[in-house]
């Protein structure tokens, strides 16, 4: 039953964007007589300036993240953290993914692919990994893009709150997978 529900959800989500692209102008045109073409172009103008404004913030964050990944510092952090996390029952195979997730979307997808290839999609390890991947976001990237778009450089408690939420998300992914899938 869950299979068919998930399937229909994923199937349904394919139609949402086309429906929005047609539905919104249709409502505007028929109900409110909005000049849809003119208004669209007016709104679309901001696309360029916002995208360009993000550049310096994204360069700063992605360079730091890229250096961190390439230097092997992540592996050192892994060695440092794994005794503690294994002690509380965190599976060591899932730790690299948990640390990578807030840093890099493509990096964590690569790690998840590795997990699935090595352990099989039916393994608990892969399921925990997939749950982790699906239940959190690339925090550093989101921070750079969202604050960058309005030229905000003082982010206050945003990073701490985001990273804490990521940690809780990873831990609860482990907990719920162990609870429900074993």
């Amino acid at each position: 039953m869950i299979e068919s529900f998930v399937e229909s959800l994923n199937f349904g989500s394919k139609f949402i964007i086309p429906l929005l692209l047609v539905g919104i102008p249709m409502y505007a045109l028929s109900v409110r007589k909005v000049k849809v073409y003119e208004v669209f172009v007016e709104g679309a103008k901001d696309g360029f300036s916002i995208a360009v404004r993000i550049i310096p913030y994204l360069v700063a964050i992605l360079v730091a993240v890229g250096m961190f990944r390439a230097s092997g510092a992540l592996d050192l952090l892994l060695n440092f953290l794994s005794p503690v996390l294994v002690f509380i029952g965190f599976p060591p195979e899932n730790l690299p993914l948990a640390l990578m997730r807030p840093l890099s979307g493509s990096g964590s997808l690569g790690l998840l692919t590795d997990l699935v290839n090595q352990h099989g999609a039916d393994s608990l390890t892969a399921k925990i990994g997939a749950t982790m991947f699906g239940s959190s976001e690339t925090t550093f990237y989101v921070l750079a893009v969202y604050f960058g778009s309005v030229s905000i450089s003082r982010s206050r408690h945003a990073l701490i709150a985001g990273l804490t939420a990521d940690a809780v998300g990873a831990l609860s992914a482990v907990y719920f997978c162990k609870l429900l899938l074993t």
Partner: protein, 196 residues
């Protein structure tokens, strides 16, 4: 905060790179990532223009106001500083809806529109407001209800099993994010005056 973390990440990388003998890779990563950052930003232009255009139509037709009003009981608790009829609420709600449905392409432009509208209410333009931090934290904790398409492709039939675990884990992280923001915004070291 970000000053220390940003510098710390680079400093640790250089030291670790020297120790692990990967210093060449560190240099290469710095150069490649700066190029990637520009490519990502430029790549956003088209999709940003598309959704900002559609959003302008939704706004002009009054749709955004209708949606914002409907969800006001929830948003007033999360964003008490944002006036009831402010367009930011509509964009925030739509961004969250797009996130929940896994429409990443639509979520980012909607989120950036929300940020621009929240910025109008911000007296100190280089410092994040409480509403912005709350919005960001909810976004980074991911409120996705549909398993991402990439994960579906990777996991095959096993994906149906992680459907519920993903929702539960997302719920926990989002609640944590909201709780943390609420708690930290009262602390002196994170106040607007002392912001970093």
């Amino acid at each position: 905060m970000l000053n220390y973390i940003w510098f710390g990440m680079m400093a640790i990388s250089v030291v670790a790179g020297i120790f692990t003998g990967k210093i060449d890779a560190v240099t290469e990563a710095a150069i490649n990532m700066s190029r990637l950052a520009v490519e990502i930003s430029i790549g956003l232009i088209g999709i940003m223009a598309l959704w900002l255009g559609i959003m302008k139509i939704a706004e002009a037709s009054g749709l955004i106001k209708i949606i914002a009003r409907g969800l006001r009981p929830i948003t007033i608790r999360l964003f008490p500083d944002v006036p009831e009829d402010h367009p930011a609420i509509g964009s925030i709600v739509l961004n969250m809806a797009a996130n929940m449905l896994g429409l990443g392409n639509a979520a980012t432009p909607l989120g950036l529109k929300a940020m621009a509208e929240l910025q109008e209410l911000n007296p100190q333009k280089d410092t994040a407001t409480n509403a912005m931090v709350m919005f960001l934290a909810i976004n980074t904790s991911s409120v996705q209800l549909i398993v991402p398409a990439t994960v579906v492709a990777l996991m095959g039939v096993a994906v149906s099993q992680i459907f519920i675990t993903t929702i539960l884990a997302t719920l926990c992280s989002t609640i944590t994010a909201i709780f943390m923001v609420r708690m930290l915004q009262k602390m002196k070291r994170f106040s607007v005056e002392n912001a970093s």
